[in-house]
């Protein structure tokens, strides 16, 4: 984006206006475009899709009345939340209570600065991109803790403290899992990491060596925990803490927490796609820059959204873990595995500086074998239960 604006400036589009002002205005403009044209429509759709996927897994139908197949359900819910009374409890710490949801949303929206939608579509290709992303997502914990404290409610406080403990702990395996791709790419910039990969699966960092493959799994688990997703949704644990840190919130402020939570699904997917799945890489099939960028955008979106779908699917599968299990999973399992991956990748780079093609193809075949085995198990369960089948997603 910056290159684009620089060219406009040198071409004399903004003559007479101070350059700094142009940059600020352009920053605001692109921020607004991304938030209102991409994030805001995406979140209700994600919520709707999650509810549909979840209900199909539970042999239900899900929301299918508002608009075609219920896609407008999010708008209906949003309007409902807007019209509801925004209650602030008497005993609450008013400024903090009112500010907390915005901080959470901020921590989520700010990640979109470095998300590479395509080779040209990125707001700012920071040279510390992935580091910036982990730093900004950690802001969410401040908002959640603030909400928990300011509510002046036991459920909220326990939820907030749990969230703090959880996010601070899982930053470590997440950071360790980010390092192998960073080592391989030799850069922290999101575009740089994608440029170091190729469009073909065997050029992805996911299949670079066994360590990066495990690293992707570790990162995904840690990211789920950081995003307060089931099976790590302890901060809001309905059965124990009513709604955790969001207990005292109502109306739009309540909706903002959930905007951030469901929006985070896409962010998690985008980061996994960038680090391990080759981002927007497509074979160069056309000279038209716009068409090429469009195809890159679609590829990146599908890769990112696949992981959002997996998160929904996990949510419908796994029960919530206990607090001690959460901590032991992080410190006893993910952190040692993360260090093993890091050292393993470093050693690998010393032995094969250009990578090992045989291992890369082998990892692809292994992933294919896992996929085949998975669908064989699915077929086994279908054959054993002999259910009435219904393949169409529409109902």
């Amino acid at each position: 984006m910056q290159a684009f604006v620089d060219r406009l400036i040198t071409d004399g589009w903004f003559s007479g206006i101070p350059v700094e002002l142009v940059y600020v205005l352009v920053m605001f403009l692109f921020g607004a475009i991304v938030v209102f044209a991409f994030v805001m429509p995406l979140v209700p759709l994600t919520v709707w899709l999650e509810r549909r996927v979840w209900s199909r897994i539970q042999s239900r139908v899900g929301p299918n009345r508002v608009g075609p197949q219920g896609v407008l359900q999010g708008i209906a819910d949003g309007i409902k939340n807007l019209l509801k009374e925004d209650i602030i409890p008497d005993a609450a710490d008013r400024p903090l209570f009112a500010f907390a949801p915005y901080l959470v949303v901020w921590g989520f929206v700010a990640t979109f600065v470095v998300i590479p939608f395509s080779s040209a579509l990125i707001i700012a290709d920071l040279n510390v991109g992935i580091l910036y992303l982990t730093a900004v997502t950690a802001l969410v914990v401040v908002g959640v803790l603030m909400a928990g404290w300011a509510s002046n409610n036991k459920w909220s406080l326990i939820g907030g403290i749990r969230s703090a403990a959880q996010i601070v702990s899982y930053e470590i395996p997440a950071g360790l899992a980010i390092l192998p791709p960073v080592l391989l790419a030799g850069t922290l910039s999101m575009q740089g990491i994608i440029h170091a990969q190729g469009w073909a699966p065997w050029d992805w960092f996911l299949f670079y060596n066994p360590f990066t493959f495990v690293s992707a799994v570790v990162f995904y688990v840690a990211a789920l925990a950081e995003g307060n997703r089931t099976p790590f949704d302890l901060p809001e644990a309905e059965s124990e803490l009513v709604a955790g840190f969001a207990t005292e919130y109502s109306g739009m402020r309540f909706a903002l927490f959930f905007l951030a939570e469901w929006g985070n699904l896409y962010v998690i997917g985008a980061v996994v796609a960038t680090l391990f799945l080759g981002g927007w890489q497509v074979p160069v099939w056309t000279d038209n820059v716009v068409l090429l960028n469009l195809s890159q955008f679609v590829v990146f979106f599908l890769k990112a959204y696949f992981w959002a779908f997996v998160a929904m699917w996990i949510r419908a599968t796994l029960p919530r873990v206990r607090v001690d299990q959460l901590m032991s999973l992080c410190w006893k399992y993910l952190v040692p595995i993360g260090f093993t991956n890091l050292i393993g990748t470093a050693v690998w780079m010393v032995i094969w500086p250009q990578g090992n093609r045989v291992v890369q193809f082998g990892m692809c075949l292994l992933a294919l074998a896992i996929l085949v085995q998975f669908f064989r198990r699915v077929r086994f369960h279908l054959r054993r239960a002999k259910p009435e089948l219904y393949y169409s997603p529409a109902i």
Binding site: V53, S55, R56, I57, Q58, S59, R60, V61, W313, I314, A316, T317, L318, K332, Y333, F374, R377, V378, R379, F380, H381, L382, A385, P387, E388, L389, Y390, Y391, I395
Partner: protein
């Protein structure tokens, strides 16, 4: 298998991966199964009313063509939700039905009225959607204009217009008033009853 700490550690990892893999395959198989939800009321293949049994005690209905005006139902009703006015015509000595109201808001669907009806004129339908906007509109007024009450003929019903209605009524009291023969019912239905 070693039972020491290291062995257990790696076994834990293996079990976590294997069980999650298996669980995910089970839930994925559910994605292609048919949902059990019945999308009542507008997206059902058959109206729910039509799937109910003949003996279902829904909203009451009166076939005025075969009502004898005997007032048995009015007397049987424990909550007096049936009001009948049937004076005798002084000239022709016939019963004239002037009013036959059933207050659905009061009715408790006990079925006593349809049990005592000699012709099966008052009977439960399989209709159950009785919601309305006011109490007054829940009173069903069956007599639009006064009619002569039905008289039971000795050798069957000669009028071809009334015969099928009477046949239905008689079949209704036959099936409705008779207790179910528990020897003929399957064990599953017995527990349901």
């Amino acid at each position: 298998m070693t039972s020491n700490g290291v062995g257990r550690y790696f076994r834990n990892i293996k079990e976590a991966v294997a069980t999650i893999f298996e669980g995910m395959s089970v839930t994925f198989s559910h994605l292609v199964r048919k949902p059990y939800t019945i999308q009542y009321p507008d997206r059902v293949p058959v109206r729910v009313q039509d799937t109910l049994p003949f003996r279902y005690r829904g909203i009451l209905e009166v076939d005025l063509e075969i009502c004898t005006g005997c007032l048995a139902c009015e007397r049987a009703c424990p909550i007096d939700c049936i009001v009948i006015e049937a004076p005798k015509d002084p000239q022709t000595k016939e019963m004239i039905l002037k009013r036959f109201d059933i207050d659905i808001a009061k009715c408790m669907y006990c079925g006593l009225c349809s049990e005592v009806c000699p012709t099966g004129s008052i009977h439960h339908t399989r209709e159950f959607e009785g919601a309305d906007f006011s109490l007054e509109s829940m009173v069903r007024r069956f007599v639009k204009e006064p009619v002569v009450a039905y008289k039971v003929k000795k050798d069957g019903e000669p009028d071809p217009r009334i015969a099928p209605i009477l046949e239905r009524g008689l079949r209704y009291i036959e099936e409705f008033a008779q207790p179910v023969d528990m020897k003929k019912v399957s064990p599953a239905e017995k527990t349901a009853a």
